[in-house]
Assembly symmetry: none
Homo-oligomer: 163 residues x 2
């Protein structure tokens, strides 16, 4: 893509091919990372060039990929078991349930992240700058609640100082 529009075919020149391989590999990994971040999904890329790298390049990690590979190896055996028609329904329900739980967990987790982020901003650098990096609507809800709490605490302190 750049100085020239190139055709989509095998690059015979070794040097150029290696350069392209490296550049595009990096780009791909970046894209995967962005996608997982933006949508909070699971994604994995495995790239292997016998020519350039002796080992496959994996993102996010070898461990993650290996774990999935272990699942992959399980597939044939499970498929051969024909007596799982009922179980499929059961699994569907389980999946639905687990998905619900997952969503809930995600929400909770995000809340905690926001909270932490907010407190960091308050004690450290400018809070406005920190908040600017986050979704303002989401932060707003949290801020509101925390302000109420703070307000309550302030009142208590004032009363204590008077007595």
């Amino acid at each position: 893509m750049s100085r020239k529009k190139m055709k989509l075919a095998y690059i015979t020149n070794d040097t150029k091919r290696k350069t392209t391989y490296k550049k595009r590999t990096n780009g791909l990994v970046k894209k995967v990372r962005e996608l997982t971040t933006l949508c909070e999904i699971e994604a994995c890329a495995i790239i292997h060039s016998p020519d350039f790298d002796s080992q496959p390049k994996v993102w996010p990690s070898h461990a993650g990929a290996q774990q999935l590979l272990s699942e992959f190896k399980k597939l044939p055996h499970s498929i051969r078991n024909n007596k799982m028609v009922n179980q499929e329904r059961f699994l569907e329900q389980s999946i639905a349930k687990a998905t619900q739980q997952l969503k809930k967990r995600r929400k909770e987790n995000r809340q905690k992240d926001l909270k932490k982020f907010m407190f960091q901003g308050l004690s450290g650098k400018g809070i406005l700058q920190s908040m600017n990096a986050m979704d303002l609507n989401e932060v707003g809800l949290l801020v509101e609640q925390n302000l109420k709490d703070i307000d309550k605490r302030v009142r208590v302190l004032i009363n204590e100082s008077r007595s």
Copy 2:
């Protein structure tokens, strides 16, 4: 990337997130296809969103996955172990707990999805590995056990193929 430079963070808006997911997923697939074509290498990607797709999206081929699998089995233990040695806790305690729960849910969910996936008839081809979106420090804790599982499974498969 376009009308506006957006920050790299979870998109809370459901509609927007889904749109981005779809667009970027397509882009990613295209990139993988191009890379394999240009450099004639093995590459695969698995993207899975429990929110949007009930099934993981996978590229490029069964054969490719098999080849990659064989490479994984060759990985020296020193490198494997290395992965988990330098894992560190850089998350604060407050959110560490929630994060752990989240990972657990994700893992469970993924396993169930995979099972459902194959029951529904993935008898076709295509597969790769998917990667999970785990943090490296969390993955590190799982490495050892996963490796043991994989080794065991591989041995079983080898024995079966001999009989």
